[in-house]
Amino acid sequence: MSTARCVPSAHEDFECPNCGARKSAGGCEDPKKCIEALDRMEEICIRRIKDLIDDNPDNHSFHLMMAGFDALDLLNLGLAVTDPMGRLLLANRTAEHVLAMRDGLQLTSRGVLQSSLYSSPSVVDVLQQAASATLPEEQEASDVVLAVQRPSGKRPLTLLVRSANGLPEDGYPATTAALVFILDPELPVEVDAAELHQLYGLTTAETRLANLLMQGKSLEDCCYELGIRRPTACTHLQQLFKKTGVQRQSQLVSLLFKSIGLVRRKRE
């Protein structure tokens, strides 16, 4: 888990977060003052985070949340949390990776989540709507699924936007935020061979075939990729059916997704 980093691209106009002056309009009136102010803001922010961790050594909830972010990474599921303005507050590693590729979804120089290509409704509008929904009915209506097109021509990213409005907690106002789940259908399914072996007693060759079928490949494609002949592939497939107790290929794919799913092994 890490916080947002904004990398201003050469094509974008930089706007000072302190005084609001644009680079194209000559920049800050007093750059030194602005830098000092931003340094101060950063210090306060870091101190707050440190206090949160240091002052509450028994505060497991922070660590549990980290564990939750790790869990989403293991599901190949990107999670980004934004404020009502669409600014990125938190992102897990998977979401960070997607943003870094700038292929479909990216950050503006001000740290606002935006789609790389034109989309209707715009990502920012959807985030604003989700983050400002306070009533349960509004929250439900603001649950949105977006297909975000990618400049590379790859399959669109799936964005699932949910409102995350907590109730006010002692001293703090109610949080208003949008949860953005990011799914990349082009990511390979990385089911662990050892686990498929344990779960269904599959051999290595059967596991490789199962993995390719989970990518949506046809039996012919599988033969080609594995460098095996069709009768061999058919034997493996029959074994897969027998060991998992299914009758058909689509049933097998469905069962594999539901029983082992997209949970992958830990990256070291």
Binding site: H60, M65, L72, E140, V189, R248, S259, I260, G261, E268
Partner: protein
């Protein structure tokens, strides 16, 4: 906390346990699976217990502890009801966060129920612009049904089903049924929308290590 809200939107069960297998955090889906007491449940002491016919007397703690050397494990839990076994995928969380962070070691446990329908209807409709009829068909195909079985379930003729299928192929940009099933799982993942699984707060687990103050119980 927003991070916890996110976990409640998953349709797969997720539990964080301490090193001895005691749950510290349980998401909504895992809670439902535990309540069903079909393969796995909570003991009165707050630990995880497998009711699987194969390992009746074994508590989950001993299973988890026995596998602790390998950093990950998968367990198929047979169910008294005779349904397809639950899959328990275990990942040890140490080392996943930064090295200088003194995080107490925890275990991440995913629980998958193959009998639970994927059911991403609203997602499919919005994502690919499918009609209601197309969505219903896509949904059944995701369950591994044949086109004939879909016709029976939906009460439509084969020619109608074929037409819907062609439209679904066009709208999703795939050529085959297997490819469609894989794409639908990969593009909708395990996140579900709507009321299902939405809770207004995290229920505190009386595990002795977390106090109620850290998970304020909020009125529903």
């Amino acid at each position: 906390m927003t991070g916890f809200d996110a976990l409640d939107l998953l349709n797969i069960g997720f539990i964080v346990t301490n090193i001895s297998g005691r749950p510290l955090l349980v998401n909504g889906t895992a809670e439902k699976i535990l309540e069903a007491k079909d393969g796995i449940e909570l003991t009165s002491g707050g630990g995880l217990l497998s009711t699987s016919p194969g390992c009746n007397s074994l508590s989950m703690e001993s299973i988890l502890a026995a596998k602790a050397g390998t950093h990950q494990a998968v367990i198929a839990l047979q169910r008294p009801s005779g349904k397809r076994p639950l899959t328990l995928l275990v990942r040890w969380a140490q080392g996943m966060t930064s090295a200088d962070d003194p995080v107490p070691p925890t275990t991440l446990v995913f629980i998958l129920d193959p009998e639970c329908p994927a059911n991403p209807e609203p997602e499919l409709r919005q994502l690919y612009g499918l009609t209601s009829a197309e969505t219903r068909l896509a949904n059944l195909l995701m369950e591994g049904k044949t086109l004939d079985e879909c016709c029976d379930t939906l009460g439509i003729r084969r020619s109608t089903a074929k037409m819907h299928l062609r439209n679904v192929f066009t709208k999703t940009g795939v050529q085959r049924q297997g490819e469609l099933v894989a794409l639908l799982f990969k593009s909708t993942g395990s996140v579900r929308m709507g009321k299902k699984g939405r809770r207004s707060g995290w229920k505190p687990l009386d595990s002795g290590e977390t106090s109620d103050a850290e998970f304020p119980a909020q009125p529903c």
